[in-house]
Symmetry: none
């Protein structure tokens, strides 16, 4: 049995799901529509995913793993603290700009009846590298001694909002703007 075929269909289903959620939101997500957009029959989706909840949770996991991998890549290893931080900060921003559908999905997942705690616990752990990095920054006396959770939340929160305002059209994010935003972020956490 061609495992490759499976992979393709799984991807088609994920892509279809994301594009529907970006356009119509979670409540516009119908399994038949996912199938149609993925070029499959409705029943086929149920061969790949036990049910809608499973599909959504799997997709959440995939997105979180993929995005973290891309964002942290090798940015951290063996680089000066601030270089790493800036790289990660930009990676995070760019990733969210590039994949607005994933952002929309993740945000809605949190408030959805599909959310599964174990999944959240697993994906929370994906943030460890940024916690580690900031701890290092503290040790190097570069970063404020405020609790790391606070530092991380503020970094993330401000980027998330930035992306929203950009997608809204309230902010036009060019190079300068991004640099200013990073400067603000850095100012907020630096010692």
């Amino acid at each position: 049995m061609p495992r490759s075929k499976d992979q393709q269909k799984t991807k088609a289903i994920f892509d279809a799901t994301l594009s529907i959620i970006l356009r119509e939101g979670f409540s516009g997500l119908r399994m038949s529509e996912v199938a149609r957009k993925a070029g499959l029959a409705t029943g086929t989706v149920y061969i790949y995913f036990e049910n809608k909840t499973e599909l959504i949770n799997q997709l959440y996991l995939v997105i979180k793993r993929r995005s973290t991998t891309r964002i942290f890549d090798e940015s951290i290893v063996g680089q000066p603290f601030l270089v790493s931080l800036e790289k990660i900060w930009h990676n995070y921003l760019e990733y969210n700009l590039l994949k607005p559908e994933e952002g929309a999905f993740v945000e809605q997942y949190y408030r959805s009846p599909f959310l599964r705690k174990e999944v959240i616990e697993e994906t929370d752990r994906l943030l460890l590298p940024i916690f580690d990095l900031l701890e290092r920054g503290k040790k190097e006396r570069l970063v404020s001694s405020a609790p790391t959770e606070l530092l991380v939340s503020q970094l993330i929160g401000s980027i998330n909002e930035l992306v929203k305002w950009h997608l809204n059209g309230r902010i036009q994010l060019d190079k300068t703007m991004k640099d200013q935003a990073f400067q603000m972020a850095w100012n907020s956490i630096k010692r």
Copy 2:
């Protein structure tokens, strides 16, 4: 004369709606459940709101108007810039801590199929006072010359995330933590 339309019932419906959305999310919002929780018959809800969309949009408007009024109150008038800023910052934080159900509602409204553009346009205008305040801060050479939209988005984004982490239990928001958070916010925008 029959009983006349009742302000209290409107409130009961709004409260029921919010509490359901906090617990179950937008997709768990059933009109029959709203009615039950509000102590009314299903049909009665339709006397007060033409349909589900209308109920949700009206509620959004009410929440936004009420919250902005509370947050901005007289904090701005005739006070030194930084005093105003800190007051508003704390008002915003406290309001969101006090009414997590409203935050949950507002966040989901944005991605919902119920969203109506005119409503967003109206509520966006409610943010004008904070824009004005920051412009004043710029004129007084206290605040960075970065675009005001950027400054506002960063202030808001970081508070929103802070509240989320608090409600998640990832952050324990005591007085010290709040002060540190404000200090970070101020550091990010000050000149």
Copy 3:
């Protein structure tokens, strides 16, 4: 208690009912709409009529009685047969052209779940004068010896259809056309 007030309201309710049925059909008939159009509160309609069924049946009776009175008036008494027949034929036609809403109502009443057999039995008896007239025509050797029911049905059926086609716009009913139609009717039953 002023009985006149009652009469007026009853009439207002009947008129409202008819005008709604003409525009929207039986299935568009809502008690609240009847009340609104009659300038009354919903509950008031229930003071005058026990329920919807009662309202409709009363209205049917009133219409049938009124129309028969108008159609037969004194046309029959002491006039030559053909003069009576033509008068009645024209009365019937004109009445239906004048009150299309009553025609629409009566037709739909027959197929409705509101129909009550006793009412039909009573109103059927209203047709007796035309039966009598045709019997007289037979005795005077002016009219075909076919069963009177057949004769009556054919006279009525052709007028009803004529009115429908006129209201549809498929036929433009002017004086000539009406005379031609009567001539056809007469030709169909004359000996």
Copy 4:
């Protein structure tokens, strides 16, 4: 391969619809009842018809097309005028006696909120053969010179009423009665 959409089911739905309307009238037509009577789940009806309106309009079209085909068949071609006319007249009568449910449906459709103008326009065109036939009768100097619309309406109206009176029990339609009725019809239009 799944079961594929089924002609038989369409028919079952149509039959169920007609039988309900005959017994209960248009206002007694509930989609769930249609499904039950057709031996299907409610949702299944919606696979075959987009909604109630669509079901009713499709049914109207099918009935009108089928009945006209049966009524006109080859009765008209290459036969003397009066032979054709009598055949069609009888066909029309017999069809309506045979399918009272279709008559009931058609009559109510006209007054219903489901009526769609294009459908009426299309089905009106189905009457063209009888118009043509009568024109031919006029050319052959057999038929009165009255407007063809008038002639057609009178023929149709009298048969419709005849059928109603028969179904009511007011007329017992045997062979003799039918012949008399045709004679009346012919007398009404002949030159």
